[in-house]
């Protein structure tokens, strides 16, 4: 009998892991089991080019369906896994069928946090995580209609940008004192507020939603300071890792499925990777859970290598991006804990970069329409360099000369 490696979840991480298993030379059986009806796909376009209608569905897919046939990877789509029987090395599917595994990768991703207020189940109130979600939203992106976006994180901002470009009337409600509060410095928040205002988006901070109005469909959003007309509502208030399977199988969890630097859980036959994993990062010297494509791809590779007993550690500096209108934000590193900010360049000159330093060491950058600074920081940040702030701020000092 050939060995069976199973992957639960058919998202970005799962797709990468399956391809990497074959690249590692694994010749046994691979099965990917996923709840959604699609082959593994990328989510970033769902709030960007796919949502606005510039990218066909096939191009959202990571690889064409043929890839899985050619590489002898079995896809069980539209299929939910309901339990793991670890002692028997079995996966239990929703219809009661069981599948054997020798090694298992949990790549279950995450789900949008739900807003708990009256009326939230009304038609016309959406979350955005899947292709199906995006397809539900698309037909309602119509000029002169009213969109209310709840949550000033990247997804909320990207949806607002798409809708404003479709000439909708957009109001964005943020419960905090500023947008992007958890992830970026006030300079960046201010920049995006300005950008959206220029495009007619009404951004309101300290705005708490009390309930939704409507009978057949949502018609209004009630906040502490009044009512906002709504034909469509998109909620983006963060995500929570999908840990139920692991948890009910008795695997340690806590803000994600707990893994070591090899993406291995407490059970040596079970690995976890991507949005659902809580992992140690030696470069950042802490444990964390990340929600990014880079993390899903790199952990997928690490898990695949270690399922093939290659003993590969995960140690990556995170990076991320966001597209809004004609602005591209690119981020390297984690800004948390910074004690100094340095700006290089000005938006009026086409773009700028904001460097985050801690104890004089460069730990992160937000680069706005500034791919050179972004790319340079990908090389600089892992080296934990002390760079004089005056040099960073001086556009006449080439990024190549910073090290």
């Amino acid at each position: 009998m050939p060995e069976v490696f199973a992957v639960v979840g058919a998202g970005h991480c799962a797709g990468q892991a399956a391809a990497s298993l074959r690249q590692q030379g694994f010749a046994g059986d691979i099965v990917i089991i996923g709840e959604e009806p699609h082959v593994p796909y990328q989510r970033p376009p769902l709030s960007k080019k796919f949502l606005i209608g510039e990218l066909p569905l096939e191009r959202v897919y990571l690889r064409p369906p043929k890839f899985y046939r050619d590489n002898n990877i079995e896809l069980l789509l539209d299929t939910r896994v309901v339990a793991l029987r670890r002692r028997e090395h079995e996966i239990v599917l929703a219809d009661g069928r069981r599948r054997h595994y020798d090694k298992l990768l949990l790549a279950t991703g995450s789900s949008p946090r739900r807003l708990q207020v009256t009326g939230v189940d009304l038609p016309g109130i959406c979350y955005l995580r899947t292709i199906a979600d995006a397809q539900r939203i698309q037909p309602h992106l119509r000029a002169e209609k009213n969109l209310v976006v709840i949550g000033g994180g990247y997804i909320g901002l990207e949806v607002s940008a798409v809708a404003a470009q479709r000439r909708m009337r957009v109001t964005l409600l943020e419960v905090d004192g500023r947008i992007l509060n958890r992830v970026a410095a006030p300079v960046i928040s201010d920049f995006f507020v300005q950008l959206h205002r220029q495009h007619g988006v009404d951004i309101r901070c300290n705005a708490r939603v009390l309930r939704f109005e409507g009978s057949e469909r949502v018609t209004g959003v009630i906040c502490e300071d009044g009512r906002i007309e709504a034909d469509l509502v998109v909620i983006g208030i963060g995500i929570a890792p999908n840990t139920e399977l692991a948890q009910s199988a008795g695997l340690p969890c806590g803000n994600g499925i707990i893994v070591d630097e090899y993406c291995q859980t407490a059970d040596a036959a079970i690995f976890a990777a991507g949005d659902c994993s809580n992992h140690p990062n030696p470069l950042l010297q802490r444990r964390l859970r990340l929600e990014s494509v880079h993390n899903a791809v790199e952990q997928g590779k690490t898990a695949a290598a270690n399922m093939c007993a290659k003993g590969q550690r995960y140690a990556e500096i995170p990076w991320f991006w966001s597209d809004q209108y004609d602005v591209k934000l690119q981020i390297v590193g984690l800004a948390a804990g910074y004690d100094q900010l340095v700006q290089r360049g000005r938006m009026e000159e086409g773009g700028f970069a904001l460097f985050y330093l801690k104890d004089g060491v460069l730990i992160a950058v937000d680069a706005i329409n500034n791919p050179r600074e972004y790319m340079a920081c990908k090389k600089l940040i892992p080296q934990r360099l002390r760079i004089a702030p005056e040099r960073l701020a001086d556009p006449t000092v080439a990024m190549q000369d910073m090290a």
Binding site: E298, W319, W321, K328, Q330, P371, R372, M375
Partner: protein
């Protein structure tokens, strides 16, 4: 319509794949598991890990490099004057026969 694109590895192994018009060369590469094309950002022009060197005679026949791509290329692994990001090359009939060299490493 399809275009044939050839990838030549640093050890001179070559593979020719067919890519449908409208898809990017990067997508054609990952769909065929071409070694050395990592494409970590999925074509968002944010990683440079789909970098290739274009065969010299082909280079001038490609659409020009936009500033965003140029910025990434400067910092890609060992860029050369013929460097391109394959996620920015959309396949058309004109690209049939394209020859690309995969770098020894990506970032």
């Amino acid at each position: 319509m399809m275009a044939k694109v050839t990838f030549i590895q640093p050890d001179h192994r070559r593979r020719t794949v067919e890519i449908e018009n409208g898809y990017t060369v990067m997508q054609g590469a990952t769909a065929n598991n071409i070694a050395g094309i990592k494409a970590e950002c999925g074509g968002a022009c944010s990683c440079s890990t789909c970098h290739c060197y274009v065969e010299t005679t082909w280079f001038d026949r490609l659409p020009p490099v936009e500033d965003e791509e140029a910025g990434l290329l400067e910092f890609a692994w060992e860029p050369k004057p013929t460097s391109r990001l394959t996620c920015q090359l959309v396949v058309t009939d004109e690209l049939d026969g394209l020859i690309l060299y995969v770098p020894e490493q990506q970032l």
